[in-house]
Amino acid sequence: MAIEHADVLRAAHLARLGLNSDAEAAGYVDDLTQILEMVDRLQAVNTDGVAPLSHPLDATQRLRADEVTETNQRETFQACAPETAEGLYLVPRVVE
């Protein structure tokens, strides 16, 4: 399956990844085209009736009891944040 310029722009937007120029986007179109051509070898194999494998040991998610086990460490975790005030993360204004 080919990938178009618009697909790369769409993926970049979905991933919230800024692209600096059309040339940069074009570079990714070339790279991704090459990679997806390689990936397209998968289409040649018949996988009818084969269950998808998402965990190499076929394990399922383990659940624990719904109990509070962690103490509040807000100050510790916010110490590495770019900008906080009064225990909140600061970002540009979203609602006017």
């Binding site: 790279d31 991704l32 990936v39 998968l42 040991l57 110490a79």
Partner: protein, 485 residues
């Protein structure tokens, strides 16, 4: 002292030939003197290492008995270390001091081991040459015009160069085994889930696994015993007893059945690599092993399936880097979207962006079934190949990589780099363990023999590797001082 194994160094400490402080300080000096050119470390934690060494010496004076106590090692900069920069090789995390320790870091500290610092790596572990690091490429200590392999290139180079007797690495598609092969050391990727991933920065969560890199299989056995085990903080870690990995090292190999996957000896395999691997197989025959050819018929689909699954999982895992809670934030964002987009554009390198874009594209509406679901179906076929082979043989053997270490700057396009991992990637898709052991040279550049086993067969792999190392001395070679100075 700089090229001794952990096992030998432990004896030296016990006999009082040297103290942990003397050993640690000597390695730190060597790193300071010689790593400028090799670039295997991102951060060196001298003060912490020396005070930990002093504590180990004091514990020894009081009758210390932990086998690894006082022994230094290096830690790939993907493992969170409290209060120390954990960069993952990325500008995104250049300013990140982890607020907690990875489980394996805690376990090694509890074993009394001493971290010398954090090693260089491909950004977010995405790469096979260590050329994708924000902190610059690592050079191969055997030949400085060559790459050390990746993504655990700094760990492998540090062990080879005599900077650290051992290191921690991680392996998502070959990132322990291929650099171990390129740098002439021993590297083990354990079974998926054997070692906790808590505090190990996520790349592709159904494939990532941490493991030891060292100068012998015996040393890897010591380290694996220290880091393996169930962890309530990692829901993918496996609740299964950790055996004594040293117990089976000396088991004779008579009657061992070795399978050679014919697909691992086909087109694209370098002649010198093939000849070294065939010679290694002859050593096993002389030890009483039986060798036969087997087939892993879906091998050619491993790299394509991986380059759907790994980028898809990466695009999801890396969405956490948003410039809000930690990591890089752009200057003067005009709005929230600008903050996200520019912080991520500035913080991530080229290969990481490429994989985020592929992963986002293949997971997006209209493409999911054709790519992700298809790749997961093929993943099951690939795993089944190994299970069928292990009905016939005990272990599989082949090269760890199709060529010896390639030149720095040689692989310009992404796909040719991806195809470097052709013999390692399927192992992660199947979740089985694999080890690379030194098995010869092509000129100055080392060659690695890869040995693969069933799920949780680490004891057997370590036994098979150890017996080879009792019969050969490839693992005892190290770059000459001329090469390293």
């Amino acid at each position: 002292m700089h090229h001794m194994t952990l096992t030998e160094l432990a004896k030296g400490l016990k006999a009082g030939d040297f103290s942990s402080r003397e050993l640690t300080s000597s390695l730190l000096d060597r790193i300071e003197r010689l790593d400028g050119d090799i670039n295997s470390f991102i951060s060196i934690t001298r003060d912490r290492a020396l005070s930990a060494a002093d504590a180990a010496d004091q514990a020894r004076a009081k009758g210390e008995s932990r086998p690894l106590a006082g022994l230094p090692l290096a830690i790939k900069d993907i493992f969170c270390t409290q209060g120390i920069r954990t960069s993952c090789g990325s500008k995104m995390l250049d300013n990140f001091q982890a607020p907690y320790n990875a489980t394996v870091v805690e376990k090694l500290e509890a074993a009394g081991m001493i971290s010398l610092g954090k090693t260089n790596m491909d950004e977010f572990a995405m790469g096979s040459s260590n050329e994708n690091s924000f902190y610059g490429p690592v050079k191969n200590p055997w030949d400085r015009t060559a790459v050390p392999g990746g993504s655990s290139g700094g760990s492998a180079a540090a062990v080879a160069a005599g900077f650290a007797p051992a290191a921690l690495g991680t392996d998502t598609g070959g990132s322990i085994r291929q650099p171990a092969a390129f740098c002439g050391i021993t590297g083990l990727k354990p079974t998926y889930g054997r070692v906790s991933r808590y505090g190990m920065i996520a790349f592709a969560s159904s494939l990532d696994q941490g493991g030891p890199m060292a100068r012998s299989a015996e040393d890897c056995a010591h380290l694996l015993g220290a880091i393996a085990g169930h962890d309530l903080r990692d829901s993918t870690s496996v609740a299964r007893v950790v055996p004594d990995y040293l117990a089976e090292l000396d088991t004779p190999l008579a009657g061992l059945k070795i399978g050679l996957p014919k697909e691992y000896f086909g087109d694209g395999l370098d002649a010198e690599v093939e000849s070294a691997i065939r010679d290694a197989i002859k050593v096993y025959e002389s030890l009483g092993a039986k060798v036969c050819e087997v087939s892993l018929p879906h091998t050619h689909l491993a790299v394509p399936a991986y380059y759907v699954i790994a980028p898809a999982e990466a695009s999801s895992n890396l969405s956490r880097y948003d410039g809000v809670r930690f990591g890089h934030r752009c200057e003067n964002p005009v709005d929230l979207e600008d903050l996200y987009k520019r912080s991520r554009a500035e913080g991530f390198g080229d290969e990481v962006k490429r994989r985020i874009l592929i992963g986002t594209h293949t997971l997006s509406e209209g493409f999911f079934d054709a790519y992700y679901r298809k790749a997961q179906q093929v993943r099951r076929l690939i795993r089944q190949d190994f299970m069928d082979a292990f009905e016939e043989v005990d272990v599989l053997m082949g090269p760890a990589a199709p060529t010896p270490a390639f030149d720095l700057g040689a692989k310009k396009d992404p796909v040719s780099m991806y195809l470097q991992d052709i013999y390692t990637i399927a192992i992660n898709l199947a979740g089985i363990p694999g080890i690379s052991v030194p098995a010869g040279f092509a000129g100055k550049r080392p060659i690695g023999l890869q040995i693969l086993g069933k799920h949780f067969a680490e004891s057997q792999l370590l036994n098979v590797a150890h017996q080879f190392q009792q019969a050969t001395d490839w693992h005892r070679r190290h770059p000459s001082d001329q090469e390293t100075t």
